[in-house]
């Protein structure tokens, strides 16, 4: 066994992967080459265990302008404009340093969007932590929210929505997924493919230091164990001020037609950007590390090639225009340096001045990584454990208050008030004002709606059905604001794919995602995969996070989720057949287990269409999707938001075969809670269940009937801050 064999293992490559590299090079790789291969062939960059599965997803549609493979996806919004969007994870760095991990997660997704030439206009975030009685989880939550706020607020992009869940399986592996939406003129958008032999490669933005060296292969392709304190030096530090400058610089360069192509630098830094640009363009690239502006003296070539210093972009520029490009960088007080050239060699060559220190075929580096098949095996029953926190004899009122106060269900105002949700003057519906965020798009004379959803616990009960539910949840949220889905992005957060149970979860989830997207006719325009989210106690809940963008014609006709008028009828619409399987109540009772009812996608889709059209016609006072905590929680949320009570009878659900408890607290897709004029509601097939008015939430449900004041429900629903703030007496 030679010293070099040990080195490749340290960098995360298997013996057979190393042998394959030697074969493709025709020799043993040197240090620079080995470092570059180890990063591009890591799970995080190469998607070795997921790429074959992802081929099942539908990616085409008449509104698709850019699909998977570009920096972000984009859909046509009308009048020559496109909406670009994508979601990405930054899980492992956030578990180590939550503030910077979450901040740089936001920074990275912003760059993916403006790399297309789209100006970012909104961000959303989807977070998961362990239960709040863990000091560590409170620390991670606090750090992540501060980090997201710090970066998003400073750069001036509105944070318009998101979700936060607290579940024990995320204790050692938190999830931080960030989504960004941008707007671009379609004829000013740019692709990532490098083109034009002889064109210059220009590096823009921050200088290059030792941030994140080895980040990709060290953090994202291995499970986190105890002693991960030692990984602290590999976390990247973000500078939103630098990003705002390089963003304006790039958008001005694109507006002036000065760039042939543009790519952001993310995981694996220059290595992946240069490699991917060359691969997409079918060309070669020569890079001279001596020309890269450095923050630290005496960095080695391999360090420069794999550094993950933030806020850097790579552009391809015609030689005659390089001077002008550098002048624009100067104007915006951001870095600009010509560091290389496009060649026809089909190789990525790394030079240090005149000396060639690395020379690899593009194809081997970017596409040569072996793709692996999974060996999935369905686990025997529920593998996640249970913990009861609710007294079995709890009354309906006590149960409702416990659900509303449950951190996953409770209002997230504590978090979203730390984010600027109004900058840019587009936000028609701010967080928790309606089921989806709504942004006006005066450029196209319409508006868009965005929702990000995913319930890992329900996916753990049934990965196929649970994933379908996540997509239906998004579609329902969009319908509540009158929006029709245009496209979807997803982040697949799963455990170790080399183990049979997470492999099975991933396989079933991707099938569910493919089937529901096909059935709804919603294309997947991009996404991200984060694997190896597993600790000594096992894998996280399988967590596909779905971000959906829809369009609506008139933002003035968007109802909210609040009850607004005494005397309005309250009605149910949709094939809602609630059950306790996988529900928040089942969790509080310690009764979680495998299995979920199979969703009726066609019926839910039809209900979405009905609600959407009713909202667009201005026929509803309010619309709210029934999700976590079931109908009782949905009623309380509408009452709290409207500061007015309601009186309701769940008999129609009893007639569908639900027990009183199922009716009150059961969950499942296809439930819309609407309010408005009774006849109007019934004219499009909604079933009246009650009326808005008074100061209490009064629900008739057989032997589980209850009445509770709106004020009391509000107290429970707003109780999250008290559960979070780190107190001296803990």
């Amino acid at each position: 066994m030679t010293v070099e064999v040990a080195k490749h293992r340290e960098l995360g490559l298997t013996d057979s992967e190393f042998e394959l590299i030697c074969e493709k090079l025709g020799r043993t790789p040197n240090d620079v080459e080995l470092a570059m291969f180890s990063l591009l062939w890591s799970e995080h960059c190469a998607y070795k265990h997921s790429r074959k599965l992802l081929r099942r997803l539908p990616t085409e549609g008449e509104r698709v302008v850019m699909g998977p493979g570009e920096n972000a996806g984009a859909v046509d919004i009308g009048n020559g404009y496109a909406i670009a969007f994508k979601v990405e994870s930054h899980n492992h760095p956030s578990a180590v340093e939550p503030f910077q991990g979450a901040a740089t997660g936001v920074g990275g997704i912003l760059r993916d969007v403006f790399a297309l030439g789209a100006r970012p206009i909104a961000i959303l975030d989807s977070l998961r932590f362990g239960e709040l009685d863990s000091l560590r989880s409170r620390h991670l939550l606090d750090g992540a929210v501060r980090g997201i706020g710090h970066y998003g607020n400073s750069i001036g992009v509105a944070n318009v929505g998101g979700e936060i869940y607290f579940e024990a399986p995320y204790e050692h592996n938190c999830l931080v997924n960030a989504m960004c939406i941008g707007i671009a003129k379609q004829d000013e958008m740019v692709r990532a493919a490098a083109a034009g032999v002889g064109n210059a490669i220009v590096l823009m933005g921050a200088s290059t230091g030792r941030d994140g060296i080895g980040g990709a292969s060290v953090l994202a392709s291995a499970e986190l164990g105890d002693g991960d304190e030692a990984k602290r030096p590999t976390v990247q530090i973000g500078d939103p001020f630098e990003e705002s400058k390089v963003l304006e610089c790039c958008l001005e360069l694109l507006e002036k037609g000065l760039l042939v192509s543009l790519q952001d630098l993310g995981a694996a830094g220059l290595t992946s950007s240069a490699g991917e640009m060359a691969s997409a363009g079918g060309v070669g690239i020569d890079l001279d590390v001596a020309k890269v502006p450095l923050r630290e003296a005496d960095m080695e070539p391999f360090e420069i090639m794999v550094s993950e210093s933030q806020e850097r972009m790579l552009g391809v520029v015609e030689p005659a225009k390089v001077g002008e490009v550098l002048a624009v960088c100067e104007k915006w007080q951001t870095g600009g340096a010509e560091i290389g050239v496009v060649t026809d060699s089909g190789q990525v060559r790394v030079l240090q001045g005149d000396e060639v220190v690395g020379d690899m075929p593009v194809e081997a580096l970017v596409d040569g990584c072996p793709l692996y098949d999974l060996s999935p095996a369905e686990p025997d029953g529920w593998i996640y454990g249970n913990r009861a926190t609710l007294d079995p004899g709890a009354s309906s009122e006590e149960t409702l208050l416990a659900l509303l106060a449950s951190p996953s269900v409770a209002s997230k105002r504590w978090a979203f008030e730390q984010y600027d949700s109004v900058v840019g003057s587009r936000t028609v519906r701010r967080p928790e004002a309606a089921d989806a965020a709504v942004l006006q798009i005066p450029e196209a004379g319409n508006a868009i709606a965005v929702s990000i959803d995913g319930n890992g616990r329900r996916v753990a009960c049934d990965p196929y059905a649970g994933t379908i539910e996540a997509v239906l949840e998004c579609a329902q949220n969009l319908a509540c604001v009158g929006a029709e889905p245009l496209g979807l992005t997803n982040c697949l957060n799963f455990g170790n794919p080399e183990k049979p149970a997470p492999a099975w979860q991933l396989d079933r989830a991707v099938s569910g995602l493919a089937d529901v997207c096909n059935a709804l006719g919603v294309p997947v325009v991009g996404g991200n995969v984060s694997l190896y989210n597993e600790g000594p106690e096992g894998p996280i809940y399988p967590t596909p996070v779905v971000g959906m963008v829809g369009e609506l014609p008139d933002p003035a006709k968007v109802s909210g989720s609040a009850f607004i008028r005494e005397g309005d009828a309250i009605a149910l619409l949709g094939p809602f057949t609630p059950a306790l399987a996988g529900s928040e109540l089942a969790k509080l009772r310690g009764e979680l287990g495998a299995g979920l009812p199979q969703p009726n996608v066609a019926a839910v889709s039809a209900a979405c269409t009905t609600v959407r059209e009713a909202v667009r016609a201005g026929k509803l006072s309010s619309a709210h999707d029934i999700s976590d905590g079931g109908l009782a929680c949905a009623l309380a949320e509408c009452a709290i938001a409207g500061r007015i009570g309601c009186s309701v009878d769940v008999q129609p659900l009893r007639e569908r075969g639900c027990s009183p408890e199922d009716a009150l607290f059961g969950e499942g897709p296809g439930g819309f809670l609407l309010s408005g004029d009774r006849e109007t509601l019934e004219s499009f097939g909604a079933t009246t269940i009650g009326e808005v008015g008074g100061t209490t939430v009064e629900v008739a449900a057989g032997d589980r009937s209850f009445t509770v004041s709106v004020g009391t429900t509000e107290g429970a629903w707003l109780s999250l801050p008290g559960q979070i703030e780190i107190r001296a007496d803990n």
């Binding site: 400058k245 007080q333 979203f416 008030e417 730390q418 984010y419």
Partner: protein, 224 residues
Amino acid sequence: MRWGVLQFPGSCDERDALHACSLLGEARLVWHEERDLSGIDAVVVPGGFSYGDYLRAGAIARFSPAMEAVAEFAAAGGPVLGICNGFQVLCEAGLLPGALLLNESTRFTCRQLNLIPADGTKSSAYARISSRRPTLSIPAKHGEGRYYAPGEVLDRLEENGQVAYRYVPGQNPNGSARDIAGVRNEARNVVGLMPHPEHAVDPLTGSTDGLKIFEAVAAAGVPA
């Protein structure tokens, strides 16, 4: 009415301010390196994170060529409105008294709240007055908005009617002294406030009370 909205590296809300101003006249951006304010009737120093809020919010922006021009413009009596980071810049530049400190909660906060235009009121009287005056619904979004000045300076501001806006009792988002949300200079042509009137000009995105604040600036010193 011709408005000039300053733009520093790191400004975020300058385009929103530009849009709001263009509802009430003509408006253009003034790049931080420009000194020429000719043709401009009123200046807006916008919100955001100029220079990343590095060192202290507004500490670097105040030295820009454009701010030197604004100081001359203000000394000659021209109307100047500072919003959020703009308020911080005007205090750092000495064009307004006091300073803005870290919010008492230590956290950034973004919320819609109600302001009382408070010219000429002293804090003992303002609780009485606030219940009679119409309030303005404006969003605030900042991490360092706690207004501070030494006690005798605050007394003087109130005596002189230089407190321009206060938060409605119970809605102070940051611990500002005496619920002060905005102040004027002695000559009454320079005003700064932490909340964002440029985000309250469109019924689709919130209230339109912000327009009243811009109109007050255009009338140079007359309270809203």
